[in-house]
Amino acid sequence: MHVQKKATIVELVGLSSYSLYRKFLNLTTQICEGRRFLMAMTISEKILARASGRDRVEPGEYVVGKIDLAMIHDLTGPLTLNVLKEVGYDRPWDTDRVVIILDHQVPANSTVTAALHKQLREYAKKYGLKNYHDVGRQGVCHQILAESYVKPGMLVVGADSHTCSLGALGAFATGIGSTEMASVFITGELWFRVPETIKFEITGKMEKGVSAKDLILKIIGTVGVDGARYCAAEFTGNGIANMSMDGRLTICNMAIEMGGKTGIMNPDRRTLDYTGVKAASVASDSDAEYMKVIGVDLEELEPQVAIPHSVDNVKLVSEAGEITADQVFIGSCTNGRLEDLEAAARILKGRKVSPGTRLVVIPASKKVYIEAEARGYIKIFMDADGVVCNPNCGPCLGGHMGILADGENCVSTSNRNFIGRMGSTSSKVYLVSPETAAATAIEGKLADPRKYFGGR
């Protein structure tokens, strides 16, 4: 028997809890009644309110929201399918709202990975899922979601922590576990605690050689790895308005590295053009309430580096001391987009990678790869003695395509520098912008890219 198409909270939490939960909601509504028409909402609150069929929601409330889009990939997806099998019901609630992307180890690098890919492939075939991205039709999952699926106002869940990237498109997007993804597949819903929102007001203009990655590293270095724990991090201000979609995705991508439930930005003309939507119906009210407002001035921003083994261990590249680079990695869901490759290619054009350094470049998607090839960036990387791999996560999480040996250093545009992240537990990962990565590849040690733009 099929699950009801319009599943209710009952499937998720059971009848007794449901009535308790309703009482709790009624009480909350009564308390809020007086303020209902006075209080404005943030974009995150508006999306969660809409998805849970409410007029308004308040931070700290638990709500059950209808999911607009659910994504699994080859590392967390098989666990979701195993759970569905164990429960004995594996048909997705809505085949059009499920996206499956192979991206962590593509093409398969072992018989084990091949088996995981096969499991997802057969599941997609079984239910005729049109949103299935197999080898050669894919890229890093968040980039594929940004290019083809996510629209402003959506409630998006992905079985991957960096799903928060998609908030850059004005969606509420957050990472969840594999088991709860199984419950999403069954019911089309999920419980959420409405997060408090921290507003980051970004103003000013960055100097050449400094980019979005430096901004988000600076922010994480300031607030710490749990500085936005369980919160929505909303980025706003003219610094965001003037930023490309690629840069915005970089910023929201790393919201999780400060514990954020999502990074999010109000949609504007650029968002609408990127997503092919005529009008966006959702944005924070100007008088919405924030837990905190943090201002960042881009004029003063310099190239940043996150030193092992914590993402908030951030220093200025100019003050980090001599750090040799055995490997430089340019790619990942943080910095594998066209703008990132363009910035690196500009610096590497006509130059060579230092003899003691290996440069690995991985475009984030097929679309990015094709465009980078057309613009000549791929040739620039190859001429510089870099290696360019097919779109996937690559060495970012120690999967393949550049695993580190004992004691090696990698200067990387990815998002995590945890112990053993890219291989040996005695290796080290330094997180930087694509500009800094390119300059580092040329010099063989951590380098300030501003001099390649005529700066200091």
Partner: protein, 162 residues
Amino acid sequence: MLKGRVWKFGDDVDTDVIIPAKYLRSVDQTVWPKHVLEGLDPSFSLKVKLGDIIVAGKNFGCGSSREQAALAIKWAGVAAVIAESFARIFFRNAINNGLPLIECRGISKLVEEGEVIAVDLDRGEVRTNNGMLRSVPLPPFLQEIVNSGGLVEYYKARKKVH
């Protein structure tokens, strides 16, 4: 009421040190508990005994969404994790897999490694040699999932999906 011996860890214990990505590829799930917390203490999986309790600082389980982190801890025999605070996705994964956890301010300073503490999950109370700490228990609907042993057992028990 749970009683167990304490293993202490610091702040910001991330999912890469709880279970490195190289083991996630395995289809043999018994591999995960054998490498639990290997990044911080390579011999932890040999020392930890059924019913032991992990006590940690702030932001436990930060990093990736890999559910294998919660499973590795649970399958290693750990009865509960008590921390100053939890990273969001780990918090959800633990509940959905029936790994009891309590967010308890002040716990990491109050208990010593190796001491036996008592935990009352329903009341959110932790009794230590140096006194008792109270925290806010999970909302009832989440308690119910944990008590069922996780979301799968919860579904199975209620046969909601057939």
